[in-house]
Amino acid sequence: MASFPTTLLILYFVTTPAHISPGEKKKVQEINANWTLQTTSQLQTEDPDSCVWLGKKMIKEFEPVNTSTIRLYCICPKEVVNDVCFNKQEKKLAKDRKAAIEEDKRNHKESFVEPKEVKTDSPRFLPIGPDTPDPFATKR
């Protein structure tokens, strides 16, 4: 049982109205504007996938808004092992690291020193963006 559920942290930023060139993307506007943190909110979600999915939905909702924007993070408890909170790439890196250590151990038996273990079960703080893969996309 996780100590806390996967939490969606939302930071709301606002800026003053400004002239926006027709067709200018929100991403470009975000680069040049002065943003002020207006408020934050936390939303407890069922699981990491739902957290990411909700975050992406929120980003899409704020896309046409010029005077405010959001930044979203999924906070995963350490017990949760999931492709989102502990994704495949990290799993692969951990596996590769373990293989490299084993190979080094075989080749340098006498001088080999066991490296310090890297913890991979720490809580995760996952930034969500418009290009973050949709966890339900492949499942559907």
Binding site: K27, E30, I31, W35, R71, P127
Partner: protein
């Protein structure tokens, strides 16, 4: 000018029976004003009718219909393009020459907003005058009366008009110094005085050199060049005959004043820094490098420049001497 028909109407109103001596034919104009027939039988009543007609004509003349509005000087008299180009070139030369020798704390040539104001003023004034003298009786007798209308050269009217213009040209001193595209190497074809050497560099150098010795810093330097041209003319016509004389005078002037005012206003020191006001966020978000929020400096600077111009114009006012 007052049309001849109006003169005729004025005559008709003042003397409906057309019995007075000061008849003015409708087809003729003012040259026959009070041109009395050569006769010795004038009475005081006839004289008063003549005065009334004369006064009517003058009142008509003064109603504003004959007021004049002088034209602004044409391009050959005020070559705006050449004057401003020459001024910009001289400013560029002066600032570039002063940069290596001036202490930036006392005078930084790159830290000014320069306004060049061209202010042409055209004034025109025409003063037509008319008068007459009459003797009663016209001939003979040991005693007679002399009627004189208008002192000196008679009754005069004044028609005066003015036409002023003003335009500001704004330069950033730093940008002006680096502007290699200014066609300063070509000689101006104009003979206009304002396209000649204005002496801006000499004036600035003296100011900068003074701060080097006396301390302080140069603040709001200014420069005004003024050209004044005046055309004056006077003419008169007198027709004398036994009963008296008819007088007509015409005088006027056209004056053109062109002033070139250069004002320096210190640019506000703005820090050019970038701030990050938004976290990077997840995949697909871009960075944030925001500029500082716009301040009111530019508005204040503009007001300051305008006040500086007004101050300089007030300083240039002269008390008219007799």
């Amino acid at each position: 000018m007052l049309p001849a028909a109006a003169w005729a109407e004025a005559s008709r109103l003042s003397d409906p029976n057309n019995t007075a001596l000061c008849s003015i034919p409708a087809t003729d104009s003012r040259k026959k004003l009070c041109d009395a027939p050569y006769s010795g039988g004038h009475s005081w009543g006839a004289a008063m009718a003549c005065v009334a007609r004369f006064a009517t004509g003058i009142v008509c003349l003064l109603t504003g219909g004959c007021a004049i509005l002088p034209d602004m000087p044409p391009d050959w008299a005020l070559p705006v393009q050449e004057i401003v180009l020459h001024t910009a070139c001289e400013l560029q030369f002066a600032l570039n020459a002063l940069q290596p020798i001036s202490d930036p704390k006392r005078f930084d040539p790159t830290a000014w907003t320069i306004k060049v104001t061209l202010n042409p003023k055209a004034d025109a004034d025409i003063q037509p005058g008319a008068g007459l003298t009459r003797r009663f009786p016209a001939t003979g007798g040991t005693s007679f009366s002399n009627l004189v209308i208008g002192p000196g050269n008679g009754v005069t009217a004044e028609m005066k008009g003015s036409h002023y213009g003003s335009v500001d040209f704004k330069f950033d001193s730093g940008a002006l110094m680096k502007d290699a595209g200014l066609p300063c190497d070509t000689a101006a074809p104009s003979y206009h005085t304002l396209t000649k050497h204005l002496g801006i560099q000499d004036w600035l150098f003296r100011a900068v050199d003074t701060t080097r010795v006396a301390g302080g810093s140069v603040d709001n330097p200014g420069f005004t060049a003024d050209v004044f041209i005046k055309f004056n003319g006077t003419g008169s016509w007198t027709y004398t005959f036994p009963p008296g004389a008819n007088l007509l005078t015409l005088s006027g002037y056209y004056q053109l004043e062109e002033s070139l005012t250069i004002t320096f206003t210190a640019k506000p020191v703005k820090d050019t820094f970038k701030v990050v006001t938004l976290p990077r966020g997840g995949k697909g978000f871009g960075p944030n490098y925001a500029s500082p929020p716009p301040s009111t400096f530019s508005v204040l600077q503009d007001q300051s420049a305008s006040l500086q111009q007004i101050r300089q114009q007030l300083q240039n006012l002269r008390i008219p001497t007799q």
